[in-house]
Symmetry: C2
Subunit: 399 residues, 2 copies
Amino acid sequence: MKYAFSDRTKRFQSSAVRDILKVVNQGNVISFAGGMPYDELFPLMAVEEAYKCVFESGKKTLQYGLTEGFLPLREKIAERMARKNIKVNEKNIMLTTGSQQVIDLFSRILLNPGDIVLTENPTYLAALQVFQSYEANIVAVDSDEAGMLPDDLETKIKTYLPKFVYVVPTFSNPAGKVWSLERRRHLLSLAQKYHVIILEDDPYGEIQFNESETYTPIASMDDGKHVLYTSTFSKTVVPALRTGWVAGPEQIVRMMAQAKQAADLHSSSIDQQALYYLIRDFDLDGHISVLRSEYKMRMEVMRDQLSSLSLPGLSYVVPQGGMFFWVKLHEQINTTQLLQKAIANGVAYVPGAPFYVSDIEYNTLRLNYTHATPEKIEQGMRQLVEVLEEAYRSLQPVF
Amino acid sequence: MKYAFSDRTKRFQSSAVRDILKVVNQGNVISFAGGMPYDELFPLMAVEEAYKCVFESGKKTLQYGLTEGFLPLREKIAERMARKNIKVNEKNIMLTTGSQQVIDLFSRILLNPGDIVLTENPTYLAALQVFQSYEANIVAVDSDEAGMLPDDLETKIKTYLPKFVYVVPTFSNPAGKVWSLERRRHLLSLAQKYHVIILEDDPYGEIQFNESETYTPIASMDDGKHVLYTSTFSKTVVPALRTGWVAGPEQIVRMMAQAKQAADLHSSSIDQQALYYLIRDFDLDGHISVLRSEYKMRMEVMRDQLSSLSLPGLSYVVPQGGMFFWVKLHEQINTTQLLQKAIANGVAYVPGAPFYVSDIEYNTLRLNYTHATPEKIEQGMRQLVEVLEEAYRSLQPVF
């Protein structure tokens, strides 16, 4: 039988890369591909203690919960967000199945087919997939290392009247970029001037390598009307709990809750309760501090390997936080084509192409440094360098 | 700021009933409204033991998981489904956030705006909300107590060329109906003849009051191409884990997995692992047997109260399983208007109107008997009867 799938499924990207990387997870390959935290750093004992607290609170805790999520956890999140100067209370917050679901539900309540979303270029692949699945048109705004370029941003807001602007301003995925305070302010002022919403995606904000630095969330400068902020516990606690949240204007959060009620009624409330007890009883800030220094050390191992290379056209920015190096190679090198060879040589990465909205740079790749041990990072980078050096040797000389 | 929500949000039903019932959960009202299992029957110790097994398997279990869900649990589900003669393996199964998410993802991959879905009338409210949110047109098929009427079903399939037919053939919500085997076969044969998919929603199938009776799932008679079957552990284990599943044609399940990847990456894998250990180590069938007799006893308490009433036009069917009585009153009584008075008298129900696709019968209501103790059921029914008797007294005499 031939199934008549909906038009939106035609926008689902068939991902050759994803299929290749599926194989990686089974084999003997050192993977810099996924965006996964390091297993051995998971606070297993604290998680276990937290679940004990849930079970001690009795059978009622296993009943259906609120679509918006477990209230005491929303209150704890509001407290933590207040420390970032984001003024919200539990009515502005909804718990979700990871921040991925925030991107989906927000798109669902806003996007009609043909609506425009402005993004960075490159940007988070799975956000692009969501926008495409709602048949939106995605327009990339020109950027430099400090964020979107003011003139191009204003021109594109005026030209396209976008439904929203999607940004990852702190340790972006894949580019590892940090927006300057000035550019954050500028985006917000344009959003306020032209009545556009900003979706500020901040999954990596806590993973900063310079503890004394402050990265001001755009939401903290807003009047409570123009920014929808989302983050997750997947990177700071553990991914398996799949607990993220959205914080934003009450009217938007309420509409997203209506959408969520139809989508899945509510996310796992046993996990939400466990997270509440974990935040109450465990030194989460101390734990995040450990993550910062461990991930910084791994980043430096990868950086040292990269900096020892002298390949024409090679460039990268040393991350100030987050989970990724974004590497550019000689413009004649196609990293999508190179991936098979890399895997054959025992190392995997994500080619840069799928992260682009337009003006694809095929000579880019993303390297994750949080999931492998320092030893594996060294070894994997040596294997990657072999593949790169061979690719460079076969470059056509330019006359 | 005025937000420009998407067209599909205009289909979100603003539910006055839901707002009223929110108040109920806080107050001193005996509620027959929700579709909740009874807290005190939750297998808390078994759930706790199951989580212990998860934590004993080490930190790796807390990492990101597969979009399709934890493989050993999918295998366990395939085993359990084989007992119902539904022949599937782990490739035909995906784990979701409740069976609600199955309805959503299935609609997402199939429905274009304007597409037709055929349903029973009345039917599960939150399924209607999903179909509406994808801007589908819902057409009700005429039914009697044994299921959809063959002639009307065939006429409507030929007339409307629906994308799928949504049915709850065993202990339906809200009507508590059981389809006859003949009607199940007939629906399937039409689906095969006209190349239409059936979405068979079976959340209550395990809650049967006559242990020796067999209710044949439509999926068990299929050739593996025309039926998508969904169920959940919310009613048999606990709702807080929010774990449901879909079983169906591999091509459809694979497309749903692509949609789920964008929607939320994957559901809580810690909960899925716990459920796997629970099924492995706990006598789930023995537990389900206890639920059956406990819920049957509660149903009988409610039935005895109903059967003692002599009100003109009152009718109901005694449920063979599931969680609800579906009651019809005199046609001049509007249960939506009556709800406020019932709550004022300390008892809540769900008015029947929102469950209808068309030909709304305002004199209907749904009563849940699984969430209250037998004593509370008796007391709540007395309070409800007072309200009903008063409503009947104020009926206009018909000349």
